[in-house]
């Protein structure tokens, strides 16, 4: 197990290096000159050249890349070109905001998806199963931005239960309860797709195990149903659910952008979108690396959990 874990951890380094190189090169393909963008339509050619030199954009590509990488390894993510502030001061707080949103959405997805998935399988074709199927189809088919507008309409404008936007009320005291109050609707909108995926996968995975010989044998021995399900069936049904949850968590970090825009949630998705438009390479690089790092780490954790539950995987 330890060797398996170590190998998986070491594999992260080339993955991240590859991501950073590919990103850097792809960003060069985005049309537009950042210096010209910065200066606006009144800029003259010599002023643009002056700014390009100031930003180091007149250097060869490889030199730009390695000077960025050198800084990054020493904890200096550079300065944002468009915002003129250290990248860390933009990317880190925004990333944490998205982590909060994605974490809450994932918790909601698991809290609803797992029990409904299990019940759907155990009581196949019952009303719970039908409800689960409906939720799963609705959740995966409803575009998150549409769902977000619908939630705002009902819960904020009609019922007045939740705020429409932001992380805090600009007139409030800014406490944790206020944050939770603001978090609920965006988290719910974000959770729709992972909730649907987790519900469907849990259902099919549990169904498959429930029909297997050893479960029939356990039942034949007279074990109580809840023990058969919770102790034996779940342990065998969970690995694919854990893997997919890891993947979903990764997607959530980059995939919350629509919900962030509609709820004015100051997250990394929105920031990344703006940085790409402004060709603000240091911000895009740092934000993408953060997302990639978390994606890889979450999937590593999921794989380790699966390996723990399924000893056959550790041998390799």
């Amino acid at each position: 197990m330890a060797r398996y874990a170590l190998l998986r951890i070491l594999a992260i380094v080339p993955i991240l290096f590859g991501v950073s190189v590919v990103l850097f090169l792809f960003l060069q393909l985005v049309p537009g000159d950042v210096a010209a963008t910065l200066l606006g339509p009144r800029a003259t050619a010599d002023k643009i050249a002056e700014i390009r030199a100031e930003l180091g954009l007149d250097q060869p590509l490889y030199r730009q890349y390695f000077s960025w990488l050198g800084g990054f390894l020493q904890g200096d993510m550079g300065r944002s070109i468009a915002l003129q502030v250290p990248v860390a001061s933009v990317v880190v707080p925004k990333f944490l905001n998205t982590l909060l949103l994605a974490g809450a959405a994932l918790l909601l997805a698991l809290a609803v998806g797992l029990p409904i998935g299990i019940l759907s399988a155990v009581r196949q074709y019952s009303w719970v199963d039908r409800l689960g199927t409906f939720l799963a189809v609705f959740g995966s088919a409803a575009p998150p931005f549409w769902l977000a507008l619908l939630l705002i309409y009902f819960f904020s404008l009609e019922l007045g239960w939740f705020p429409t936007s932001g992380m805090q009320s600009l007139r409030g005291d800014g406490g944790r309860l206020e944050l939770l109050h603001h978090l609920f609707l965006p988290a719910l909108a974000t959770s729709a797709i992972p909730m649907a995926v987790i519900t469907r996968l849990t259902r099919s995975s549990v169904l498959e195990v429930v029909r297997s010989d050893f479960v029939v044998a356990l039942r034949a021995r007279g074990l109580p149903s809840h023990r058969v399900i919770l102790r034996h069936t779940l342990r065998n049904a969970l690995p694919p659910v854990i893997s997919i949850t890891g993947l979903q968590a990764g997607f959530l970090l980059g995939g919350t952008v629509f919900v962030e825009v509609i709820f004015s949630w100051p997250g990394i998705g929105q920031q990344l979108y703006q940085a790409v438009l402004a060709k603000d390479i240091p911000v895009v690089q740092a934000a993408m690396l953060f997302i990639a790092l978390f994606f890889v780490v979450l999937n590593l954790l999921a794989d380790l959990a699966v390996a723990y539950l399924n000893p056959r995987l550790r041998a390799g």
């Binding site: 537009g32 100051p266 703006q274």
Partner: protein, 546 residues
């Protein structure tokens, strides 16, 4: 969290869902948040400001925030109601003289003006600020500030500090719009910052720590969430017994970036914000019926197309005039934009001293368009034209819908137009290289109160890459008129020269003005005293909260 005490409850879920699609949430009545306000006005912006360096920040969005914290030597009075153009009034300079030859401007500074950090404004501070934007040798020089304000200092030769409260600008040639350009905002502005504060932060950090002399001072900024300003108690305007200079009635002014228009409207309805920028034109009527206030005024702004005069057919004035006659500007302003714009027939914008609201040239007349086309060098309508447009972006009102309307107009008359849409930053990246072979026309949304604007888009010396005459228009007559206007120091004479240059350009139909935007905003019912000035930005000092 502010709640809406006056909500009608949903009649049925189906009705609510239908309403959502039809009106996207315009169903609730306004919030009555009076007692919760405590003198704080919350403004929902349509994009995030970049950085709060008043002399170097990029674009109108940031200037709309910065202008509350910074003052210029001479200012535009945006508190005046019912005026066609913002009066130019003394700012940090209480008076100024221009020498007879137009080469020397002497500014007399007000006494007792304090920056937000407590330091005093004097002539030395003014010199320090101008050098930051103009003198590459100065320690505080910012290349970006210089690029943004280059038009203002184009004739500046030297600066002379006469005494503590007098500074003199020596020009190397007369520059009639020197004052007019000084009050202009946008990418960079000539307003003054505290040199002592700059010493603390330098060019790199100054954009996070703005300190000016304006009516509001900076409190804090959380990127993506808010920029908080509060009333500056030592504001110089409060010392004067003149309503044009009175400091803010509100205590706090908070800007919240909210990029999604539906989210801005929802937040206004829920009482979370008091004022929203760029409301979707479709919703103005419905929101007004619900008790919200719509405020707008024709602004120094024009949506226009530049035609590529190097292309076949487009090099023929008759062909271009036919295009202009085919465009139903009134329909675009009234039906498509629901009155949030007025038709534009010239490049000179509302709010400019040379603007003439009655000026008409090549207005909508499809029959005349067909006649002109038949008489042109391409009577069959010519080859398919490619018109370049952005999909959206700062200050662009519905570019795709407007362009499709124009495309339909043109195709009806016999032209063949194809639209090519690009994301805004990508669009800008090739727009300022000028129209290339195979590109027939390009969209832009821009404008300035100074009539110098006509030169920016129409003088042949500003062909790319030197400038933004992107359609390669070249007219000796126009160039001569503009050169004359540039050095003319008599205001009336200069304004008429610019108006004449505009008339010739419009006769040539080199540029196609479409509409002037009205910079609409939506206000909660609790907001009073908002003045919709003929400018792309507004003054918040007059606002009171009920």
């Amino acid at each position: 969290m502010s709640k809406n005490p006056n909500h009608p409850r949903t009649r049925s879920p189906l009705a609510a869902a239908v309403a959502l699609f039809l009106f996207a949430g315009v169903g609730a009545t306004p919030a009555l948040a009076a007692e919760e306000n405590g003198g704080t006005l919350i403004v929902a912006m349509d994009a995030e400001a970049d950085f709060l360096d008043n002399q170097a920040a990029g674009g109108w969005i940031t200037w709309k925030v910065n202008r509350n914290m910074f003052d210029t030597l001479v200012m535009e009075d945006l508190t005046a109601e019912g005026v066609d153009q913002p009066p130019i009034i003394p700012g940090l300079a209480e008076s100024w003289e221009i020498s007879d030859d137009g080469l020397t401007y002497t500014f007399h500074l007000r006494e007792g003006v304090k920056f937000h950090d407590g330091t005093e404004l004097d002539a030395e501070a003014v010199r320090w600020n101008i050098e930051r934007m103009w003198n590459p040798e100065a320690e505080q020089y910012s290349a970006k500030a210089a690029a943004c304000t280059a038009f203002s200092w184009q004739a500046l030769e030297s600066l002379e500090v006469v005494d503590e409260s007098t500074i003199r600008f020596h020009l190397n040639r007369p520059f009639g719009e020197f004052i007019g350009k000084m009050v202009d905002g946008g990418c960079g502005n000539t307003s003054l910052m505290s040199p002592a504060n700059w010493e603390k932060w330098g060019n790199e950090e100054i954009g996070e720590h703005p300190v000016g002399t304006g009516p509001f001072r900076f409190v804090e900024r959380v990127r993506g969430e808010k920029i908080v300003l509060e009333r500056f108690d030592d504001y110089w305007g409060d010392q004067l017994d003149d309503p044009r200079y009175t400091g803010p009635r509100i205590e706090r002014l908070i800007f919240r970036p909210m990029t999604d228009p539906a989210a801005r409207v929802a937040a206004l309805q829920a009482g979370e914000v008091d004022l929203i920028w760029s409301p979707p034109p479709d919703w103005l009527d419905a929101m007004e019926r619900r008790g919200f206030q719509v405020e707008q005024a024709a602004s120094p702004h024009v949506i226009y197309f530049a035609l590529n005069l190097r292309e076949p057919c487009l090099d023929d004035p008759k062909y271009r005039q036919a295009i202009s006659h085919a465009i139903d500007r009134q329909g675009i302003a009234e039906n498509l934009l629901k009155g949030a714009a007025v038709p534009a027939y010239g490049m000179i914008v509302p709010g400019s001293p040379s603007f003439d609201a009655d000026f008409r040239k090549n207005a909508y007349d499809p029959i005349r368009a067909q006649e002109l086309l038949a008489a042109s060098s391409c009577p069959d309508g010519g080859p398919t034209m490619t018109w370049l447009i952005p999909t959206g972006g700062s200050g662009n009102m519905a570019p795709i819908a407007i362009s499709e309307w124009i495309q339909r107009n043109l195709n009806e008359v016999g032209f063949n137009v194809e639209l090519e849409a690009y994301e805004w930053q990508t669009y800008l990246s090739f727009w300022w290289k000028g129209l290339q072979q195979g590109q027939s026309a390009s969209w832009m949304s821009w404008g300035m109160t100074t009539p110098l604007w006509v030169e920016v888009v129409g003088h042949s010396k500003w062909h790319p890459p030197e400038g933004t005459n992107v359609g390669w228009y070249q007219s000796e007559e126009v160039d001569a008129l503009l050169d004359g206007a540039l050095v003319e120091i008599d205001d009336a004479e200069r304004e008429s020269l610019y108006a004449e240059a505009n008339r010739v350009m419009m006769e040539d139909a080199a540029l196609l003005p479409i509409v002037h935007g009205k910079t609409p905003v939506l206000l909660g019912p609790n907001v009073e005293g908002y003045v919709a000035a003929p400018q792309n930005w507004r003054d918040y000092r007059t606002i009171e909260l009920r």
